[in-house]
Symmetry: C2
Subunit: 348 residues, 2 copies
């Protein structure tokens, strides 16, 4: 069973255990545990504590995570359930979550990423196996049943109940609608994603509502494609002609990845942006700033979304009984760049 240390003599690279530290410091394992876990206060004399600390340093002792987890019931790990971490937005959420969880747990907590490339099912086994103390969900509808008590925080999923931190996408969408209305646009194509997530429904609804309110006879044509650069590029290249022919003068994509793909597709199709067609997106990923033309987009605080989510999750883990409370809502705002301009006259 044991696979290190051989039988009898001290193997070559056996990690030291609490007993070893105790022996070297001349104390019991309980004392070591107290010192290690910062519970020495009032239980262990300063002198003893120092001896233990010395022994730990000398031996290079590090508490075994599995053993501790088994004993305490705490794994000190949380998962981030996300779709496609290759998407810069997701990557930033992850980065924010990583710093957030570290901060909220004094560096003792860690992030386990559960990804799902493309349309595959995410691998949620760790959740069931209690590998994590909680999960951050940025991928609606993927939490497995069977663990109804697990601490969960939903990210940017307004339709979800429970603990959540969301984005005020509606406000941003309305700003964008006003911006396009001001530029004289009357007919815009709304390029949605293929995922039935509430955040996307909200983006579309708020935009369409405000646009219709501001522009008499406004037309919003619905279209959709995967949240993927190449997919959006090909889609746009193929539809460009039809969009213009239908009288549309702008394209609003549900995400920047799609918007950037559209930019590339239109470029390939010889459609000038914003000369012939304006383009805008949501997210404000870093690359939106360096595209040509730079992308007008509704900036969403991805990093903070992840950060706040992690901090909130840490609280929920700490006190699972506490009721959800008001959902945290992070602001969104329009960033106007070069991809949107005055509406052009129709082709004919």
């Amino acid at each position: 069973m044991r696979d290190a240390g051989g039988i009898g003599r001290p193997g070559p690279v056996r990690r030291p255990r609490a007993v070893d530290v105790a022996a070297r410091a001349g104390v019991s394992v309980a004392t070591v545990s107290f010192v290690v876990n910062g519970k020495a206060e009032g239980r262990v004399s300063p002198a003893t504590r120092l001896r233990v600390l010395d022994a730990i340093a000398a031996l290079g002792y590090v508490t075994d995570a599995s053993a501790r987890a088994l004993a305490t019931g705490r794994r000190r790990q949380v998962a981030l359930l996300a779709h496609d971490m290759t998407n810069p937005f997701t990557a930033q959420v992850a980065a924010g979550a990583a710093t957030g969880i570290a901060e909220a747990t004094d560096g003792t907590g860690h992030l386990l990423l559960l990804l799902a490339a493309g349309l595959d099912e995410p691998d949620v086994e760790p959740v069931g196996a209690a590998t994590v103390d909680g999960v951050l969900i940025n991928y609606p509808g993927t939490l497995p049943a069977g663990r109804p008590d697990l601490p969960v925080v939903h990210l940017d999923d307004p339709a979800a109940g429970g603990h959540q931190v969301s984005l005020d996408v509606a406000v941003g969408a309305r700003e964008l609608a006003r911006h396009l209305a001001d530029l004289g646009h009357r007919h815009v194509v709304h390029l949605d994603s293929n995922r039935p997530w509430s955040t996307f429904a909200e983006r579309r609804a708020a935009f369409a509502d405000e646009f219709a309110r501001l522009v008499p006879g406004a037309v919003v044509t619905d279209d959709r494609c995967d949240i993927d650069l190449a997919a959006a590029r090909d889609h746009a290249a193929q539809r460009a002609e039809g969009w213009r022919r239908s009288g549309a003068t702008a394209v609003v994509a549900a995400t920047d990845v799609q918007a950037l793909g559209v930019l590339a597709g239109l470029h390939g199709a010889g459609v000038a942006v914003p000369g012939q067609l304006s383009v805008a997106g949501f997210d404000d990923i870093p690359f939106a700033e360096v595209s040509a033309p730079p992308l007008t987009t509704v900036a969403l605080p991805a990093r903070e979304l992840g950060h706040r989510g992690a901090v909130l999750l840490a609280q929920v883990i700490e006190d699972p009984a506490a009721p959800p409370g008001e959902p945290v809502v992070l602001p969104a705002h329009l960033v106007v760049r070069g991809s949107t301009g005055p509406a052009t006259d129709l082709i004919r």
Copy 2:
């Protein structure tokens, strides 16, 4: 200590344990263990096995990962140590590693990401705490001492010893040198990263060597900046004038993120690409294809790097004693797009 189930009566949401399954199926825990771990063959009768399986399904039993880890010494988790997962290259490596580890372990293995934003130290505590069975390193020089026996696979770090999977960046760099030489360039600025990693040194050396070999009187000016979109953009905007004045007609960046930043910076400075300055990078991240102009770059198989690395790591974990063997080297090749063109005449 226990925090679920209260005392005595069956708590509200206590997860079922192996004993519960055993009781329900009328067998011992050992039998349950065998069935769960696929070791029933020849030990448990098919009928018994089915009863156990039924009980597992009925109870919704899932083996506790911590307990299993403690008992087996296997954590079923590996870590990916990377710098800035916000970089698309890193994100793709991670995506590849995730599928690779899942594949190599039949879905029982998982990925733990250890990130390090900016210049911070990565959080390698999980490694010391034996939270993982091995680690994939894409961040040279960050593995902590104290666990010399830990299975490790180095990614794209030719200077590292041991198990590794690398990229043939030299071949790609030489192709790029030839491409620029053919276009008539004689003086190019090499925009390196600020990190002293062997892969970057190799990119530069191979490029410079080949360029000098092909172009009589070739000049390669060294410059550097952080691997960050904004940093590269600002750097380029500021240096653009100087670069052109010095006679340089092309800029080769160590990574695509930097190259795209340069593109943005030059655009802002009113320098035409490739009209006045050609630009090229390394990686071929998805966004390189949709920039304007599309970026000429040395394509590096990020996804496969992660995938192969994970598969190799799984093998090393399986058989830690096996010697490293020939390092795996993945091919790199030049992808010519619109950001490079004929060398222009000097300004004066």
